[in-house]
Amino acid sequence: MSEYAVQTQNLGKRFGKFEAVKNLNLAVSAGEIFGFLGANGAGKTTAIRMLCGLLLPSSGAGQVAGFDIYKENEKIKQRIGYMSQKFSLYEDLTPAENIEFYGGVYGLKRQPLLKKRAALLEELGLVVHANMTTRSLPLGFKQRLALSCALLHDPSIVFLDEPTGGVDPEARRNFWDLIYHMAQQGKTIFVTTHYMDEAEYCNRVSIMYQGEIIALGSPQELKRKFGKASMQEVFIHLVDR
């Protein structure tokens, strides 16, 4: 049992001849907010999918919540939450029905689930929208609903794949408030983004480029190392090289 929430050793994935991810080495501690930065196509989504058990790695090893990602998938899945880029909500279901569904799928018992559902709808401000299909919700609401559904089973590690894509700046900041809140509760947050300003909010970040990590450390460390004032400049500097 390691003390790291997420750990990988030379994790790699190739699709035919294309190496989407190579030599991924990570060690993320519990309660850390870890940012996974990189341009589109750098391999972030592939990496997250391997850690979540959606993709079988081609090489290397990894452990999530102390369990092996090759052999102990089911145990991992019970302990992680995942929110995809597309928010993965059922557009033709109401928010209440979405919550009920995902709760049921994670094995939550009926009564506790119904209570949780009521509380969530209240908290998210969705009571008004309770009988509307999710399709008609504004994007910010969908985003937070998706996050709530991912957290129903109280996972200790949360993977967020570009959770703020297409959302307005205020909603983005509110979302990050939520992330801080979760980290304070002791949850480990693994978030990918290509918004460089969000990198500043993380405890540590890694920058991926063409499948490999080209930089790893806290935002302050990286800025100091490369003599740049912002993560954006660090990123551009590294990518241009």
Binding site: L56, L89, E91, L93, E97, V105
Partner: protein
Amino acid sequence: MIYGLRFTYHVLRITTMSSRIIPIIRKEFIHIRRDFRTLIIIFFMPVFMLLMYGYAINMEIQNIDLAVIDHSNSPASRELVAAFQGSRFFTLTDFGGSESGIEKLFQQRQAKAALIIPPDFSRTINGPLPAAVQVLIDAGDSNTAQLIQNYINGVLQTYNAGRGVAAPFEVRTTIRYNPGLKSAYFFVPGLVALILMMISALLTSLTIAREKETGTMEQILVSPIRPIEIIIGKVVPYIFLAFADGILILLVARFWFNVPVIGDLVLILVACLLYVCVALAFGLLISTRARTQQVAMMGALMGTLLPTVMLSGFIFPIASMPKVLQLVTYLIPARYFLPVIRGVMLKGNTIFHLWAQIGALVLMGIVFLAISAKRFKMRLEV
């Protein structure tokens, strides 16, 4: 002790399984209620297709234009002409004219057949030797030409019988199970098989492809739920609905097209349920390869429509196909269902006659399901 533990383990697995399957089933019913397209596929399409194709595929022809040239002009010949006039199959046209004009008639499509009665007809018909009349048929369409010939023979037979003519030998053909030679009896059961196959495959392939396309499949796969649980949960609602569809179109077949149901109704329903499961499993198989709904739809339609129409015995008898194709027909579910539905409806077959077909359907269902489950697992890589 060990057995007790194992038993408990299996029961636990089933109950935990079912507690995860139920949300999937419930969600599927919600989707079905809210998706207009699915509702149309389930309720409107089957009946619509059955009515449309039932009427379109009508192998009987009526009102065949028959040109009559009567050289005899006698009571006997007029009697013969009257026999044709009275038949519902023929419309008489162009009395008079001569032989040379017939080809022109055929070419101008004013007649499909011609009856030429020789001048000595009234003499020969009352004489010891058989009387001959000439019949010309436009065989440009060889299928209808064959039918026309049969109809003409039919009319002549009736005419002969009416005259009390004793022939050297009599061939009495009794047409069993479908005395009126109503083509509906032949086609409608086949249509039932075709429609059920198409609709069922369409439904399951679409529902899974939809989840893949919208990205929700990924979300489900991240949860501890097992692929087999996803499959079962998604298919169960459609078993109910497709079976209800089966009952619906059987009702239409029985009460609209008047196809008789001579045999055991329960057997038909059981076979229907089995067949529907096989078709749903086939849709599953297609969905494992499809990433979008469009591809799923095309795969489902192409995989069911043409093979079922051509290779199941629906129109073309399997026995008259080349050996290679006959082997292929073993893969078509409708091949096993058609004898059952035709056999029970038209002939009153029982399970004793049809156990092989029923067994084959069960086997097919299991195999399709197993392959889908395995493929689904492998294609976990979304």
